[in-house]
């Protein structure tokens, strides 16, 4: 520990601290622009110059290490003169366009200019003008305002993993630019807007739509992945104008994925439903809630009476809140229905002793010495988990993957095994066998390693996991949604056991853990054998299921389909009643994230039109059906009832039974069906700016390696007709890091909604 005096206050700080760290720890504010606690030190803005005793010149607080006995003066004449000098330089070429700048009112330069600037300028020469850059549909630029702090450049390189922005030019002509003709395509690119201390980088969807001081700030929780990022939702006139991260070091740190930041656009979209709708004589009619709910109650009762309780199924998206799912299940149980399912994209459900979760806290994840990720499009499915692991790798974490594609994680990998999707099990078995051989251990009895070939790549992965103090093996969406998920899980669990790793599951949706806690599952694929009646909560059958064509066909045959959703959709074709229910932004509720943490939130805006929170809809339905214990006054009351027994004891990733695993051979064309980043749920799919990004384009693509494309007689760029049950028209794109004969054809995409399961063929269109 070192002793330091700052403005007369004596304190002790750990060795290696900077003057800035020390000042922050005692609440002394030193003005700064380029310094950011999560980024490397650049010391280029020079705003944090302070006086240090015995130093002849003022020193930058951000980059000056504390030495024992150091005396620092942050507001002495020397310090303030230096700070004011820097402020003058920053302002001479900065445009005086605050009245039309989106950053106005929340601008670091504006704020600090109040304290360190002059009322007039001594600079009488011409000001600099810088050409704007096209960074894509999310980030708007006004580069003349740039003060060259390089935070955005350092973010793309250090946090996002790939330097999509750089400093071009020299001297006065220095400017921030992307690669020529390229945009910024990172899945976490929106953070550069928050980082920019001036109005050079602002939000494109938000541009000119409100001033910061007009906005109310309301806390919420992100709804599009299992992380549960904390949000500040900014609202004006009962409309969401902007979403920013709420700092929570244990979950999202100070970052937010683009999906969580920009999906709000859908919440204000024209596709929102505002009134309950009933189909009468084939025509959709608006109805009042009373009529619609009575229709639903009576319909449910009569289907159960006519066909039995097994003829009804309740289907929910895992992004529904804990309270909604709880009442949904309770309501159906009240009429005797127990067919409920939320794992809609899972074809081979994995049985575990308890609720599947991360197996550790999010914060602990990157503290592991080694992590193996099995079956995940990690950067797109879990953008901030990928970011955390990237930071872990910098500290020495050995990250390896067994996956069905070789998408670049933008970090150093200790090992990489890429297989066909139907050979992912064999990929894990190869690593397991290598680990067994390396450790001289034996594999569990249910795993047959005979005939498994240990490749060099598998051995490398195994080596990275062995002999480490703390390791984890995680399963992602591509693993849990794999056709052989049970075997894959068993093999991965065995691997974790052999190498002494924690086993974890990267939750797919915002409330996957909550849905399991409530047991909102077990019915399996309720569309395979059509039911007489379905109730769908926030689930769009054509996109949110593993086999959309099959689901839609089953719904079309049903006698009664109740759809509860905030949005218009193809439910008009198959539903009988459509109830407009609140998205997460318009209801109070709770999500349980992948580490088992329940996070409750309030509605940030009032429900649109006659939209109602789903938990209230279920409560009224319960009352209409005369069910007991449906008199809840608040969502908190429901939550407290659910969580009374606690969560921790229910989390357990251990396999429920020993599934037999044996290596199989596979050949021929195989589909790698994954959900594109911006097709995950009904909200994301309607977020217009996200749909314009480069990442969104994969929804219309068939990706395969060059050899596979050649064998199909297709060239990259060609339009192709894909047949699998139905047909889809896609554009062929080369993906170098796929195994032979693998066709990466998206799920949950408008282009592929007619595709089903089974044999897949491709022809040039």
């Amino acid at each position: 520990m070192l002793e330091i005096e700052i403005d007369g206050k004596t304190l002790t700080v750990p060795g290696g601290s900077t003057v800035m760290d020390a000042a922050n720890s005692v609440g002394v504010h030193i003005p700064h622009f380029c310094y950011h606690k999560k980024l490397s030190i650049a010391a280029n803005c020079r705003m944090c110059l302070v006086q240090v005793e015995k130093a002849p010149k003022p020193l930058p607080a951000c980059a000056t290490p504390v030495t024992d006995g150091m005396k620092v003066y942050t507001h002495s004449d020397m310090a303030v003169k230096a700070q004011k000098g820097v402020m003058e330089f920053l302002l001479i070429n900065h445009p005086l366009d605050c009245p039309i700048c989106d950053q106005g009112g929340e601008c670091n330069l504006q704020d600090l200019a109040v304290g360190y600037g002059q009322s007039g300028s001594r600079y009488q020469e011409e000001k600099r003008v810088v050409v704007n850059k096209d960074l894509g549909p999310l980030v708007s630029t006004d580069m003349t305002r740039c003060i060259h702090c390089s935070r955005c450049v350092r973010f793309t390189e250090e946090i996002a993993g790939f330097q999509e922005l750089g400093m071009g030019g020299r001297g006065e002509f220095t400017e921030v630019l992307p690669f020529i003709g390229k945009t910024v395509n990172s899945e976490i690119s929106g953070n550069i807007i928050d980082l920019c201390p001036v109005g050079a980088l602002t939000s494109k969807p938000f541009r000119y739509s409100a001033r910061t001081w007009e906005l109310s700030r309301r806390k919420s929780v992100a709804a599009h992945d299992g992380l549960g990022s904390n949000l500040v939702v900014q609202v004006k006139d009962h409309k969401i104008k902007r979403v920013l991260p709420l700092e929570n070091e244990a979950i999202n740190e100070c970052w937010l994925s683009d999906r969580d930041r920009f999906s709000y656009e859908a919440l204000n979209s024209d596709e929102r439903l505002t009134k309950p709708l009933i189909k009468q004589g084939g025509v959709w009619q608006e109805a009042d809630w009373q009529t619609a709910l009575e229709y639903v109650a009576n319909g449910l009762k009569s289907v159960v009476a006519d066909h039995g309780a097994d003829s009804v199924a309740g289907v929910a998206n895992q992004a529904a809140t804990l309270e909604e799912l709880f009442l949904f299940k309770k309501l159906l149980a009240g009429v005797g229905v127990h067919n409920v399912e939320s794992r809609l994209r899972v074809t081979d459900p994995v049985a575990t002793k308890g609720v599947q979760w991360l197996g550790q806290s999010i914060a602990d994840l990157a503290q592991n010495n080694a992590v193996l990720v099995v079956g995940s499009t990690l950067r797109k499915d879990q953008p901030l988990i990928a970011q955390r692991l990237r930071q872990g790798v910098k500290r020495g974490l050995a990250l390896s993957i067994v996956n069905s594609h070789g998408d670049d994680l933008l970090t150093k990998l200790a090992g990489e095994v890429v297989t066909r999707p139907d050979q992912l099990v064999e990929g894990v078995l190869a690593v397991l066998k290598a680990a067994v051989e390396l450790k001289g251990a034996t594999a569990p009895a249910n795993i047959d390693l005979v005939g498994v070939e240990v490749t060099a790549a598998a051995k490398q992965v195994a080596e990275s996991l062995i002999g480490k103090e703390s390791t984890s093996v995680l399963l992602g969406n591509l693993a849990m949604q794999n056709a052989r998920a049970s075997e894959l899980y068993a093999a991965t669990a065995a691997l974790a056991e052999v190498v002494g790793a924690k086993l974890g599951v990267l939750s797919d949706a915002a409330n996957s853990v909550g849905a399991q806690l409530l047991g909102f599952q077990g019915a399996g694929n309720v569309f395979a054998q059509p039911k007489k009646a379905y109730v769908l909560l926030n689930a769009e059958a054509d996109f949110d299921t593993a086999n959309g064509a099959e689901a839609v066909a089953a719904l079309e045959k049903a006698e009664m389909v109740v759809v509860m959703s905030p949005f218009q959709s193809c439910a008009f074709d198959y539903a009988d009643v459509i109830l407009p229910v609140s998205p997460f932004s318009e209801t109070s509720g709770t999500f349980v994230n992948m580490e088992g943490l329940p996070q409750s939130f309030n509605g940030v805006v009032r429900p649109l039109g006659e939209t109602r929170p789903a938990w209230k809809v279920f409560r009224v339905l319960g009352n209409l059906l005369g069910l007991e214990n449906f008199h809840y006054n608040s969502s908190e009351e429901i939550r407290d009832e659910i969580l009374a027994a606690g969560i921790d004891g229910k989390l357990d990733n251990a396999p429920a039974a020993a599934v037999t695993v044996k290596a199989q051979a596979a050949s021929g064309l195989v589909r790698l069906a994954e959900v594109p980043a911006y097709q995950v749920d009904a909200i994301t799919r309607r977020a217009t700016s996200l749909q314009a990004t480069a990442d969104a384009q994969v929804a219309g693509q068939l990706r395969a390696n060059a050899a596979t494309l050649a064998s199909l007689g297709v060239a990259a760029g060609d339009q192709v007709r894909v047949s699998q049950g139905g047909e889809a028209l896609l554009v062929a794109v080369e993906d170098k890091k796929l195994a032979d004969q693998v066709l990466r054809v998206p799920l949950a995409s408008p282009a592929t909604r007619n595709l089903g399961a089974g044999v897949i063929t491709v022809t040039k269109a």
Partner: protein, 429 residues
């Protein structure tokens, strides 16, 4: 024209012989004897560094830091790779000495670097050569081949266990890459921008490894010091200013060129060697150490001796030894405009005061030169300069300000005349 007077760096070089730079000629005039002496007599690293300290050799790149001391900073027991780097990114206006060394006596540099590598336990060296010189780069590569073929360079040098690999690296011509940490960035393949110090290169240098960086002339002086002894080198100059120094004399003299003379030589004698003032005109001012050094008027300069201490006492610096001589026909406003333009053009743009301030300085001087000056401009220049100097990541900010301060200190009247009369005090401008 290079004039060798009492030489160390150019000892025995025959500038009229096109083969004088070659290995044979170099060995004939005593080259690689120092290296042989070290290998054969198993001279220790400590003994070499002690000899360097005794020589009082100061860095010839401009800062004048004692070389022996710098070498002693290198953590010799560091377990990983360490690097030795030669800074031949000679870009300071007025300086052209390293170019001559590279062309006329490259083996002195190579031998000096090998000895440096030996003394500090370094096995890999790079010579970063300014991007705008081609002959020097090609000559250096040829000389490296010769040295490798003769067993002076590479694996198991002269049959010993000592290995040293040396590579030439051709830069792209940015002035800022002469700043040692910007040079390292550039050498790593990145944009040449200075790093914040600390950490210094001795602990965190090339690729993050301990690195020692010296100027070309510094390295080229090493063989002499090892061969003849530090004391003898010191005695060539004067105390604290050991040895000889190359002065690149340019401007209004009859014989501009490189002059290798003992440190401590009176300026008047150096001027005489150069054949005196051109066309018999009167000496007006001298920039004694490259464009960054404050200008000194004739009367002060004629009292100076050419060494670090004397020039510093007079309020300027010896710097890289570029002596820019100006006669009475020079307009100081025009001269400053040109100098300020250079720093505005060469600022890397990384840190605020230099990026924004150098352009401001240039624009104000430009206005004054073009008859658009205002009475408050001179104080503005000093004030803006004061906000740059000492506030930047590297010394380029200070270098941009010193000419302004020097000019206004000694020639303020000329600037005032420009502002007042919108014309020049010097006839013909």
């Amino acid at each position: 024209m290079t004039v060798y007077v009492k030489g160390v760096v150019f000892e025995g070089v025959d500038f009229d012989d096109p083969n004088s730079w070659k290995l044979d000629a170099y060995v004939k005039r005593g080259g690689y004897a120092a290296l042989k002496k070290i290998i054969e007599n198993k001279i220790t690293q400590d003994e070499i560094i002690a000899e360097m300290k005794a020589s009082s050799l100061r860095g010839r790149g401009g800062a004048g830091f004692p070389t022996g001391l710098k070498w002693s900073f290198m953590p010799r027991s560091f377990p990983g790779q360490k690097y030795l780097v030669c800074n031949t990114d000679e870009g300071e206006p007025g300086t052209f000495k390293d170019l001559d060394i590279m062309v006329n006596n490259p083996h002195a540099l190579i031998e000096g670097m090998i000895i440096g590598g030996y003394a500090m336990g370094i096995t890999v060296g790079y010579n970063y050569i300014h991007g705008e010189v081609f002959e020097a780069y090609e000559r250096f590569e040829e000389a490296l081949e010769e040295a490798r073929a003769a067993g002076f360079l590479g694996d198991k040098i002269l049959g010993s266990d000592f290995c040293f690999q040396l590579h030439g690296h051709h830069g792209y011509g940015a002035y800022i890459c002469g700043e040692e940490t910007a040079l390292l960035e550039s050498l790593e393949g990145k944009k040449g921008q200075p790093r914040f110090k600390p950490p210094f290169p001795a602990s965190y240098g090339l690729y993050g490894k301990p690195t020692t960086i010296n100027n070309t002339e510094t390295f080229a002086s090493v063989p002499y010091i090892i061969r003849e002894g530090g004391q003898k080198f010191l005695e060539l100059g004067k105390p604290n200013n050991g040895g000889t120094k190359l002065f690149s004399v340019s401007g209004h003299v009859n014989r501009p060129g490189n002059y290798e003379v003992p440190l401590g030589l009176p300026f008047s004698e150096l001027l005489e060697m150069c054949g005196g003032m051109r066309d018999g005109k009167k000496l007006k001012a001298v920039i004694p150490g490259g464009s960054s050094a404050p200008v000194l008027p004739a009367d002060i300069m004629m009292q100076c001796t050419m060494d670090y201490d004397s020039i510093a006492k007079a309020g300027s610096m010896l710097g890289s030894g570029a002596v820019i001589v100006m006669d009475e026909s020079v307009c100081m406003v025009k001269a400053l405009e040109r100098l300020s333009y250079f720093y505005h053009e060469e600022s890397c743009g990384q840190c605020t005061p230099c990026r924004e301030g150098t352009g401001w300085l240039y624009r104000v001087v430009h206005r004054i030169e073009h008859g658009l000056g205002r009475p408050e401009d001179l104080d503005l220049l000093l004030s803006v300069g004061g906000n740059i100097a000492g506030r930047t990541i590297c010394a380029l900010g200070d270098a941009a300000v010193m000419p302004v301060q020097g000019m206004l200190k000694h020639f303020r009247a000329e600037f005032e005349h420009h502002i007042q009369h919108k014309s020049c005090l010097v006839p013909g401008f």
